[in-house]
């Protein structure tokens, strides 16, 4: 009698254990969701994961975040991993500034309440997404790998070139609170972006993004490298 009862209980225990495993399995699966899946489910409403870049102004205006379909050509892996866990605004006036400004007595101003913060990811998700993003390299033909050769420039000389000679500061901040607001801040550019990408993008922004509001500045080849030196110096400063 006792034996039968024990058998019965052990069967019940096995069934209960199996059921609990079944119930837990979705949690286990969710922790192992691939970066590609997270991108598709959580990022694709604001970011283009497939090219091409906008070919019309209408498409440009609708863009809520930067295109990610060539993220592996553009971003530094360690920066992506850290930023996705602690995102911080890079473009003061949003992706298309025209959607986030209004007229005021003091000139046009940014409508801050229209800007939304980027969600932050847990460490494991950030790692999976970074791994997936870094594989996206459809624009490798636009990049000359190893083109950038590290060199030095003083902050003063860099600023002179960037601001006075080329006028780039009109649209970019070179330190927090100083410079233009429609373009991305450049004092973090070297932390975020691969050096060879910066050379290629500055040489011809429209090759990457035909409707970009960064114009082709017709920079001399020597300027390109010196600007990247300058961004690297800026990125080492503790603003």
């Amino acid at each position: 009698m006792l034996l039968i009862s024990l058998r019965k209980w052990s069967a019940v225990t096995v069934i209960a254990f199996s059921l609990s495993l079944l119930l837990m399995s979705p949690m286990v699966v969710s922790a192992q969701v691939s970066g590609e899946q997270i991108l598709k489910e959580q990022c694709s409403s604001c970011h283009q994961l497939v090219g091409p870049a906008p070919a019309t102004l209408k498409e440009l205006w609708e863009r809520k975040g930067p295109d990610l379909f060539y993220a592996g050509n553009k971003y530094k892996q360690d920066w992506l991993l850290a930023w996705l866990q602690q995102p911080k605004r890079i473009r003061s006036a949003g992706m298309f500034y025209g959607n986030h400004i209004e007229v005021s007595d003091d000139g046009d101003v940014i409508k801050k309440d229209t800007l939304t913060a980027h969600p932050s990811l847990a460490a494991d998700q950030a790692l999976a997404v970074t791994d997936a993003l870094i594989k996206l390299k459809p624009n490798s033909d636009l990049i000359v790998a190893g083109e950038y050769k590290p060199g030095k420039i003083s902050v003063t000389m860099g600023e002179l070139r960037f601001d006075k000679f080329r006028g780039c500061m009109a649209c970019h901040e070179i330190e927090p609170g100083y410079g233009g607001l429609s373009g991305p801040e450049v004092y973090t550019a070297a932390k975020r972006l691969q050096e060879d990408y910066m050379m290629s993008f500055m040489r011809n922004p429209q090759a990457w993004d035909p409707k970009s509001f960064m114009p082709n500045m017709h920079l001399k080849e020597g300027d390109l490298e010196k600007f990247v030196h300058y961004f690297r110096v800026l990125s080492e400063k503790d603003f």
Partner: protein
């Protein structure tokens, strides 16, 4: 047999023609010129402002303030050719500020001509006559 082949060739010819037409329509839409007002909003607002009076979001730290496009007196002192050149080749091409960049990589000549017309609407002026 010959008739069957001819029919098929004709049909495939039609299919090719249809594809060609669709391709032409598609490429035409890609290359279509944008409206001057839309180009102005996208590329000029950032410095010249939503009202065109030179007070866009970028002006805070500029050493030279952008042109007020509604200023009939200033704008009428510039010919259409000069305005075209300033947009296409940048401020320095017309002895003005380096802060106004070249826009030739973004706009076609046709689009720049439309922008010049749009500027004339903003200033309500013509060259030599404000």
């Amino acid at each position: 047999m010959a008739t069957f082949l001819e029919k098929n060739l004709k049909r495939s010819g039609l299919v090719h023609l249809m594809f060609l037409l669709i391709a032409i329509m598609f490429s035409a839409s890609l290359l279509a010129a944008e409206k001057a007002e839309d180009n102005y909003k996208t590329y000029c607002w950032q410095c010249h402002g939503m009202s065109g009076i030179g007070n866009g979001i970028n002006v805070r730290d500029m050493s030279v303030q952008p042109r007020d496009h509604t200023d009939g007196k200033e704008m009428s002192s510039r010919s259409d050719d000069e305005l075209f050149e300033a947009i296409k080749e940048g401020g320095q091409a017309v002895s003005k500020s380096v802060l106004m960049p070249h826009w030739d990589g973004v706009f076609s000549d046709e689009e720049i001509h439309s922008l010049v017309k749009y500027l004339r609407e903003l200033c309500q002026c013509q060259h030599g006559n404000s």
